[in-house]
Amino acid sequence: MQKNIRNFSIIAHIDHGKSTLADRLIQECGAVSAREMTAQMMDTMDIEKERGITIKAQSVRLTYVKDGEPYILNLIDTPGHVDFSYEVSRSLASSDGALLVVDASQGVEAQTIANVYIAIEHNLEIIPVINKIDLPAAEPERVKEEIEHTIGLDCSHAIDVSAKSGIGIRELLDAIVERIPAPVGDSKAPTKALIYDSWFDNYLGALALVRVYDGEIKKGQEIYVMGTKKKHEVLNLMYPHPLVLQKTPVLRTGEVGIVILGLKNVGDVKVGDTITDNRHKTATPIGGFKEVKQFVFAGIYPIETDRFEELRDALDKLKLNDASISYEPETSVALGFGFRVGFLGLLHMEVIKERLEREFDLDLIATAPTVTYKVHKTDGTILDIQNPSQLPPINEMQEIQEPYVKATVITPTDFLGNIITLLNNKRGIQQKMDYLSVNRVLLEYAIPLNEIVMDFYDKLKSMSKGYASFDYEPIGYREGDLVKLDILVAGEVVDALSIIVPRVSAQTKGRDFVKAMKEIVPRQLFEVAIQASIGNKVIARETVKSMGKNVTAKCYGGDITRKRKLLEKQKEGKKRMKSIGKVQLPQEAFLTVLKMD
């Protein structure tokens, strides 16, 4: 029954306990037996388990009985890292409420604020949940004050919980039922459902996770996808669950479920699209769904040049699982055929590359990440440049503009000095400094996006012992005094290594770059010169000396096969290197820029 449905997301800053809280809610509702229960069970991907982070939002359907009345709770656990805020906004678009989890021993952090604003934009009922009250350092009252002060959210009915020990979980479930509104929507109207996630399953094909707003979706129904203008037959319907999907003949108004269309074509189920009935179409599609915007771009190339088509196939499939990537074919003199792939951030890039390699058994090279520059040419045209090697010659450019963001940093005052220095070094301009309490400060800076996509986050974390938090949002383009830095290996420009840098720091960057390359490039049969140049002027040079020896001077007798196998093993190792002329570069060489100070 529609009035007994509650759709909500759990949002929070990273590590404040969203996934653990989801575990407790699942457990309390008996959706998973004690034996099957694992920690952070909604984090199902290998990468998520290994890194202990949530990358993809996950949904689960629970049943909770309150005062003898059964309620259906559709819970979405969301990621906290800045890179994945698009996942959060997608989840919130399909929810009627949100649990805002704040760590009682930490307080409000940068993503707490960012996520709350998304929830407010969607007009959702927000329940503040103060977590980790079992910790000796927990200060729930101070944290509530902080929430009221910084976000202006009423905390008089906040709920104190410990996701770890289970305190307050019942109260929270009751609050969800009482405070989060039941879905509104007309069950008699034509089908209207939002695709808020989609992915590819090797057995079932393309799957769409939907929230039904009006009408219902039935097994066997002929549906129409409004954006792509295609009709499909509903082969099966299921309720989401981290372990076993449960089949259902129908998804009713307000419900959340997975629609199986048996599609091979992965482009057909686009996130944000609206599903309706093919014969009785709804008048207007669901709007207000933000298109994802990629901030960071990098070339992705197969090491074996003949595996380009496999890479395309892999990207097509992954795109269905992660709608937030974009890709377009490109070519590089050095690397051959590949794609310029757009990501939400550097962590996202790392994750996508790792997933492509793991799930599709590819060996890939990623080039240095870059942002989208706007180049105003002397002939009046404007170019979007996402690949430094495509920057026009200097005499054809009037101006290069680069994207800026508003960066929000919240830090204990102990680290304030160092963090301000870091922001200044990264060309940041201070816009606000606000004391949240005596020992916590919020900083707002306008800063070139390029400076923060590289290693800013890691630096910030390490200089603040992990205490500073960070979020950013785009604020448009500004002119930059920028130049292209080329890298020559053995006398040849390697296009895939070019980067765009501020003119003032070009000299230093060039020197650091070749120095870092020298450490990464192994000795070869020949001496290898590594140079940095601007225009045609070489500004730095290092040399990788030639190799002295690689042989086993040994007695093999007749066992030549053994020797051959040893060589083949070495050969296997070299396969992961890229030949550029007579020089072989390891994969990491193309990401040298991330290893510089």
Binding site: Q524, L525, F526, M547, G548, K549, N550, V551, T552, A553, K554, C555, Y556, G557, G558, D559, I560, T561, K563, R564, L567, E568, Q570, K571, K574, K575, S579, K582, Q584
Partner: protein
Amino acid sequence: MLLYIHIPFCETKCHYCAFNSYVDKFDIAEHYFRAMEKQLEFELKRFNVQKNSISSVFIGGGTPSSVDAKLYKNIFRQIEPFLVEDAEITTEANPNSTTKQWIEKMMELGVNRISFGVQSFNNDKLLFLGRTHDAIKAQDVISFAHQVGIKNISLDLLYGLVLDTPSLLEKDLDIAFSLPINHLSAYALTIEKNTPFAKRKKIVNSTLELAQIVVDGVQKRGFYQYEISNFGTYKSRHNLGYWQYKNYIGIGSGAVGFLDNKRFYPSKNPNKYIENPLQIKTEQLTLQDQHIEKIFLGLRSEVGIKKEMLTQEEQQKVALLIDEKKLTCKDKTLFNNNYFLSDEIVLFITN
């Protein structure tokens, strides 16, 4: 045609060695030789060996000098008709177990070349390696061999240990060259799986510096280098045969045989071998396998590689290497200018 005979017995096991040999199986030695005779008979037929065609016999191990010379008698009788007139007949021998009588008897059977496993003339190093002889013993044994009339004497040296120093290695070479040898093999220590050294740390020093001292030192003292580890006033036919990709018969437990595109592996377990010496595993070599083998064998020795056997792509890489003076081309054959880079060059050409 070459013939290799494997003796899988040793008095003790050296700390670095992974060759197929056992310290506790001397009691089956006689049965073992009977089994080898059986296999030999079979292989002579399989390889279709003709009269006057075996140019080299090599008895290796393990430790050939750890068993009575008379055990070899039947084998020599079997191969007699197939040997070429001036066949090179080598046996390996360990200094600790080799006696004058043993040498004499082996000579009577036809042995005309002995390769002594000396490793070093430094007693500390010998102890570290787990050898049971000392420097004096090694020198004495080599003198015996010379007195008895063995014309071609070789010795093995082992280098590349952490305790090696330039002066230690120079001294080893000085002593080696004071002896009546006309051939020397110098091997760089390799850590092999399942050996005592594999469990320890800080054993190897594989720097170019040490290797260069040995290789330069041997040549300076008058021997010619015809393979990465082999030097002499002449070239051992047996060794050269391997690098020339010649066929060879391999007799015994842990031996390997090679015929055209197949390799043969009798059981490595001597007891199993005795049970059935004809239970031999065959490895089929692909064209690709043979291609790369010819390349790496040719590049680690003065044999070189015939340019025409290389693919178009490989020849392009070779052209680069000739430009860079890594290879020399003479009479359509490519020669390696620096054996120390052999593996790297193979990888470069075939990648």
